[in-house]
């Protein structure tokens, strides 16, 4: 049997690598990170911002009265109000009180200066520093794996986020913002690029329509915007007021984040029925600093069977919680270098 140099190289290469097996944790870490990115990416795109403004103009949403409209002598006897024809006295719920407080706190914050936002976070398996360009929305991301998970860094995602100017153009009136959020959610989740349409046709993929309720849509979109550090004080403040209108939102003013910092916890469980008649049931919680209205932590809880898998639980039969703690959010005039070295 003739042995050529090529055969020798082939044999060397195969023997040198035959024992190499990737740890399962890598693929799991990749999908977990992608889910986190998807969740954060469902924010307004440049096109969606325009569509949202147009949509908002034609829609009137019902919102609860604001604190400033309260009659001074109001008693919580709202049951009689309609019978007597008087304007009903409005009793603020605990949720509304907490969220309006947060709204005021956010509104009093100064607008950030410096072109780049540097956001340092820590999750279960990695530390992450994201640098977002407020002018272009470009994102630089550096990661440091912990517990033996791999690190990465330096990759740029162009136009990852809307720009600060696009956020500033979103209406801040509660009803208009609510409509804008629904339009943004729709644009981000229902629009299908031509390439994907073609791919689906080729592979005979027929996705089922998205069943999310408007409450789900508003909550998801509002919390995605709250995550984004390019959102200015006015919009942040308005988002808390919108959240006060969403059914199913739970607010805990005396909560703490995973590192023990005092926090206002705002959470909600997706309640839309999926085609199988069963709710997806994942709960998204965001923890906000009570005095500044800035983000401290996000936590997504996936119940059993919702498709979240880990190396220890490949079938997704356990409850999984994906926690990200926001250690710092600062502004910088330049793009900082990789904080983890390398």
């Amino acid at each position: 049997m003739p042995v050529t140099d090529e055969d020798i190289v082939r044999d060397l290469f195969h023997r040198y690598t035959e024992h190499v097996q990737p740890p399962d944790s890598i693929a799991a870490a990749v999908t977990a990170r992608q889910h986190r990115r998807d969740r954060h990416r469902r924010v307004v795109s440049a096109a969606a911002a325009g569509a949202a403004l147009a949509a908002a103009a034609g829609v009137i949403a019902v919102v609860p009265g604001q604190a400033s409209h309260l009659p001074g002598t109001a008693r919580p006897s709202t049951g009689k109000a309609s019978a007597t024809g008087k304007a009903p006295a409005i009793k603020l719920t605990a949720n509304e009180v907490a969220l309006y407080k947060l709204s005021s706190a956010a509104a009093s914050q100064p607008t950030g200066h410096g072109r780049y936002v540097v956001m340092m976070t820590e999750g279960q398996d990695l530390k992450d520093t994201s640098v977002i360009d407020s002018l272009t929305g470009d994102l630089w991301s550096y990661q440091k794996g912990t517990d033996g998970n791999p690190s990465g860094g330096g990759s740029v995602s162009k136009h990852y986020s809307p720009t600060a100017a696009q956020f500033a153009a979103i209406p801040t009136g509660t009803a208009a913002l609510r409509s804008a959020l629904i339009a943004q959610w729709n644009a981000a989740n229902e629009a299908v690029p031509n390439s994907l349409r073609k791919f689906r046709a080729q592979h005979h993929i027929h996705p089922t329509p998205i069943p999310e309720s408007n409450a789900d849509r508003v909550f998801q979109q509002a919390t995605f915007l709250l995550w984004n550090p390019l959102v200015g004080p006015d919009l942040r403040s308005a988002l808390y007021r919108v959240l006060a209108t969403v059914p199913g939102v739970t607010v805990n003013s005396s909560a703490h984040d995973a590192t023990g910092r005092p926090a206002v916890e705002i959470s909600r469980t997706d309640d839309s029925g999926l085609p199988g008649g069963r709710s997806d049931g994942s709960t998204y919680a965001t923890y906000e600093n009570p005095t500044t209205g800035t983000l401290l932590e996000t936590a997504i809880t996936y119940p059993p069977g919702s498709g979240a898998t880990t190396p220890q639980d490949p079938q997704g039969t356990a409850t999984t919680v994906d926690v990200t703690v926001y250690l710092s959010i600062t502004r910088s005039g330049t793009i900082p270098s990789n904080p983890y070295g390398g």
């Binding site: 140099d5 890598i26 693929a27 990759s155 791919f199 498709g307």
Partner: protein, 174 residues
């Protein structure tokens, strides 16, 4: 990625992960870098999963780009000697110390002394068993360049101190 896409992606990673990490192992100087490159490749695939028609080809192209970029970054730093730590999990020699203990460091050093393109051509041709035409298409170079690059690279390995004996042994077997 929705749940169906996640399952499909994880299926792909389970099926093709080993061959991708093996490619990365030959392309990069040490197991840590290989895992980094492998992870970054999967991450870029995950970001475009619904739009990638041929994930295998996509990964090979992305991986060679990442290795080229890393080479540029590393060229600015002084070259360090990289050796496996004893008993390391991803040390490819660990289970095969019998006849290869001398050979693997020599092969590693020889591969690292090639250019990224030379290494990538060799790996796609002889580990991944791609034809000359497929290799050319994946790397965006001509078939002629694949041919000349692989023959020159094999000649380089042949002449490499620790590997020369291996090639001459086979010659004596002919």
């Amino acid at each position: 990625m929705d749940k169906r896409q996640t399952r499909a992606f994880e299926g792909f990673a389970a099926e093709s992960g080993a061959e991708l990490l093996r490619i990365a192992t030959l392309l990069t100087p040490d197991p840590h870098t290989a895992e980094d490159v492998y992870q970054e490749t999967l991450q870029r695939l995950a970001a475009r999963w619904s739009r990638v028609a041929n994930p295998k080809a996509f990964c090979r192209r992305v991986m060679s780009n990442i290795v080229v970029d890393q080479g540029r970054a590393r060229a600015r730093r002084p070259r360090e000697l990289r050796l496996y730590e004893a008993g390391e999990r991803s040390d490819p020699r660990a289970a095969d110390q019998h006849d290869s203990v001398e050979l693997w460091p020599a092969l590693r050093t020889a591969l690292d002394s090639l250019t990224v393109q030379q290494r990538t051509v060799l790996v796609l041709r002889y580990l991944d068993d791609r034809s000359e035409a497929e290799t050319a298409k994946l790397l965006g170079i001509s078939v002629g360049t694949v041919k000349s690059t692989s023959s020159r690279s094999i000649a380089h390995l042949r002449a490499f101190p620790g590997l020369a004996a291996l090639f001459s042994t086979s010659e004596s077997m002919l």
